[in-house]
């Protein structure tokens, strides 16, 4: 045959171009998912501690009547924090409020704290003393230094006072990629304390007892105890982001967001496994029936019906699950496992199993049909019954195909979005060890997290980047499973001879 005519060149070029485009698509998907996932690494790691002076004997706050052992609700606490936006969580009006003067404290609170962001005490500007201090993203990764002042007012009569500190409620020190230390850098004249240095990561909350020092005028507020909080990065942003990604806490909307996607991964996997555990035995039984036993006429009727299921859009199936399946699941299981809502792990898995059936049946049937009929002849000639032929000869011969069926079904299950979105209940929690709790409870997988949260993220921000990280992970997982499934599906041991 003549390989090529000049006249054909454009068409052949087009063919090659399309081939290249197909290859490009594969590369592009990977590239752009990774490209957008890089925004996850722009993540400024937030941290924050609250400090407040307290009397050793705690009394109810005269203003709110609460015993202020929780600094989150202590309106006098000073927050030293970095890398968050907006509301600091204490009280909107106090944002950037100047350090309280003695006059303001009179009759209201016998202690004062304040802070400054300066390198040396010599730089201190009395006009720039604030109650709370926070810094923005980029400086914080290089290391930070906050200065904290603490004093009592003349209304205070006890011989000692305590500096209480605790991490901001939404910030978890053990996840923090920084070293954070608190030390005393200056004590007031005439008072000697043991040099204090506290590792705030190791001991995130506690109290330091100090001899009382009273500020007599506003100028003296900075002459009392002076602490510094020094923050130094101990991991690169990259390792810290990756480490954070593999934690077990998904809470991206927090002031200090946590992007541990393990609960999503586990939930997705477990839901898929449960769905497979239901769909594979039933589906394989059905495909065995179709491939081995059903007369041709019945098969001609059944196959289109099963294919029809494959063509019902998943969003319709999800809605069906919500309106029809979920209420009956609650009815059946409310007594047995204390299920209160149909939006649960169990419902999602059941509908997912239903979705998997056509996949399992059709790939399974193909796998069984690929077994040469000479095996069946051999078994039949030896006097095997239908069951013995299937169980001892056909199924073992089709093992690779059955494995491929399970794998491809698995990939389909972990990639399904709408059903899980509609039916899982949407709560990102680690699956409980107690299976009943897991089954009856709400859950959330990777796909629906992407679908739900993409609507509420700031584009090209860390949360957006993390959703792409999940997407990339999901892509790689399904890619791997599909490739292995493909390899298994092509494996035909009996062709070796």
């Amino acid at each position: 045959m003549k390989r090529l005519k000049l006249r054909d060149l454009p068409a052949v070029a087009l063919v090659y171009l399309s081939g290249a485009l197909v290859v490009l698509v594969i590369v592009a998907i990977f590239y752009y998912l990774a490209h957008e996932a890089r925004y996850a690494f722009d993540r400024p790691f937030p941290y924050g501690y609250r400090f407040s002076l307290q009397s050793p004997i705690l009394e109810p706050d005269p203003y709110t009547g609460q015993v202020l052992d929780d600094l989150t609700v202590d309106p006098n606490a000073t927050l030293l924090a970095a890398n968050f936006e907006g509301d600091d969580g204490i009280d909107e009006k106090e944002e950037g409020a100047p350090m309280a003067t003695l006059e303001e404290l009179e009759g209201y609170h016998p202690f004062g704290t304040g802070s400054a962001v300066i390198d040396s005490l010599d730089d201190l500007n009395p006009q720039e003393l604030f109650r709370d201090n926070w810094k923005q993203a980029k400086d914080a990764t290089k290391g930070d230094r906050f200065i904290l002042f603490a004093f009592a007012t003349q209304e205070y009569t006890q011989p000692t006072m305590k500096l209480a500190f605790q991490p901001d409620a939404a910030f978890s020190p053990k996840d923090c990629p920084f070293d954070i230390k608190l030390r005393v850098i200056r004590t007031p004249n005439g008072i000697e304390v043991e040099p204090v240095e506290i590792d705030l990561i190791q001991n995130p909350s506690g109290k330091i007892e100090l001899p009382t020092w009273i500020a007599k005028s506003d100028e003296e507020r900075t002459n009392g105890y002076v602490f510094e909080m020094v923050v130094t990065p101990k991991k690169s942003n990259f390792t810290a982001t990756i480490a954070g990604f593999f934690k077990t806490d998904w809470a991206p909307t927090l002031q200090y967001p946590r992007y541990g996607f393990v609960p999503l991964l586990l939930s997705t996997m477990l839901m898929a496994l449960l769905a497979l555990a239901i769909a594979v035995p039933i589906g394989l039984a059905c495909s065995t029936y179709l491939a081995e036993i059903a007369p041709a006429r019945i098969r001609e009727w059944l196959k289109p019906i099963i294919e029809m299921l494959a063509s019902i859009p998943t969003v319709v199936l999800g809605y069906f699950g919500l309106m029809i399946v979920a209420p009956s699941v609650v009815k059946v299981f409310s007594q047995a496992i204390g299920m209160t809502s149909g939006r649960s792990f169990l419902t999602a898995s059941l509908v997912l199993a239903f979705l998997l059936l056509p996949t399992v049946i059709s790939i399974g049937e193909d796998a069984l049909r690929a077994v040469p009929s000479s095996f069946r002849d051999g078994a039949s000639a030896l006097g095997f019954t239908a069951k013995e032929t299937i169980k001892k000869v056909v199924l073992p011969a089709a093992r690779a195909g059955v494995v491929a069926t399970v794998l491809l079904g698995f990939a389909r299950a972990i990639g399904e979005t709408m059903i899980i979105w509609i039916l899982s209940g949407g709560t990102a929690v680690m699956p409980s060890i107690d299976p009943v709790k897991t089954l009856a409870g709400p859950t959330r997988g990777m796909t629906d997290t992407i679908a739900i949260e993409m609507g509420n993220v700031e584009f090209e921000g860390p949360h957006y980047g993390h959703l792409f990280m999940i997407g990339l992970t999901l892509f790689l997982i399904t890619l791997a499973i599909n490739l292995i499934g493909y390899a298994y599906g092509r494996k035909r041991k009996w062709l070796a001879s």
Partner: protein
């Protein structure tokens, strides 16, 4: 007689009992397999019948031909239906050349090197990649990088990406199913390779290719995740037009409407949602039916 088993053979009575047990066992097994087949079929029929029954009350010409009214509480779904059809046609137009030529490339030009095997495996794997991944890709590339705007064209491109692998694979296998003798006949007439492909292989493989195209576009039309971030719109008072402007605008469509209907559960009445479910299901089923008819007619014509 020097038998292999010799005198170990069990007595006739024992053997008969054993045979009876095995037969019963096998019979039960067959009944079990049969019942699974019946169970699944019934379950599927039950789902479809339920959707039809729930959706039928909403179904009428007005429902299909008018837009929503009264804060989506009344009226029909014409804009969504039209959007879905537009998305489907657009997807088909984009994916048709790339997918078919790509399939020709894999089947006829790529050869059998290791790299090609890898590419083919990757295409297979892509065909099994979750649709939400394509949604993410469409958002990153077609929306944020290129058009800066959710639009019909971004949705079509995303859905085309989603449908591409399946079409490449079905085209490839349709081409490979063309008997070698056809090709030899073409070659013996002195045709060039491309002429053989165009004049002999493609016409012979056409039914297979069309079936693959129609099936995967139909499936794409029912997928919500890819158009969630790329093409969907909730409501528009704009007049429906057919021009180039249309491609730049987001479109209402059935899967998006259902996803929104689910989210805004209190707004869109159940009846309308069921009606929308039924419409979407029928749309996809009709497309599949078309594919089945094409396949059946082609099979009748084919004699090899």
């Amino acid at each position: 007689m020097a038998s292999v088993i010799g005198d170990r053979i069990p007595s006739r009575a024992k053997l008969a009992a054993r045979d009876a047990r095995r037969k019963l066992n096998s019979r039960l097994f067959e009944v079990w397999l049969w019942s699974m087949g019946v169970l699944i079929t019934l379950a599927i029929l039950a789902v479809i019948v339920t959707i039809v029954i729930k959706g039928l009350p909403a179904m009428n010409w007005e429902f299909l031909s008018t837009g929503p009214k009264e804060g989506m509480k009344e009226g029909g779904i014409w804009p969504m239906l039209r959007g879905s059809i537009l998305l489907m046609i657009g997807t088909l137009l984009i994916v048709l050349p790339v997918g078919v030529f790509g399939g020709v490339f894999l089947a006829e030009y790529a050869g059998t090197s290791r790299l090609v095997t890898l590419v083919r495996a990757c295409v297979v794997a892509l065909a099994g990649t979750p649709s939400v991944i394509y949604g993410l890709f469409g958002l990153a590339v077609f929306v944020l990088l290129i058009t800066k705007h959710t639009s019909l064209i971004a949705g079509c491109l995303t859905l085309a990406m989603f449908a591409l692998p399946v079409i490449v694979l079905t085209t490839e296998s349709a081409i490979k199913a063309v008997p070698e003798s056809f090709v030899e006949a073409g070659v013996s007439l002195g045709m060039s390779k491309w002429q053989v492909i165009r004049k002999v292989i493609l016409p012979a493989a056409l039914p297979g290719i069309v079936t693959g195209l129609v099936l995967s576009t139909g499936r794409a039309a029912g997928e919500a995740p890819p158009i969630l971030f790329t093409a969907g719109i909730y409501y528009s008072t704009a007049k429906l037009t057919f021009d180039l402007e249309m491609f730049k605008k987001p479109v209402a469509n059935l899967p998006y409407h259902l996803a929104e209907g689910y989210r805004q559960g209190s707004v869109i009445p159940e009846k309308i949602i069921w009606g929308t479910c039924l419409t979407l299901m029928l749309l996809v089923l009709l497309i599949n039916l078309a594919a089945i008819i094409v396949r059946a007619r082609a099979r009748k014509r084919q004699v090899w």
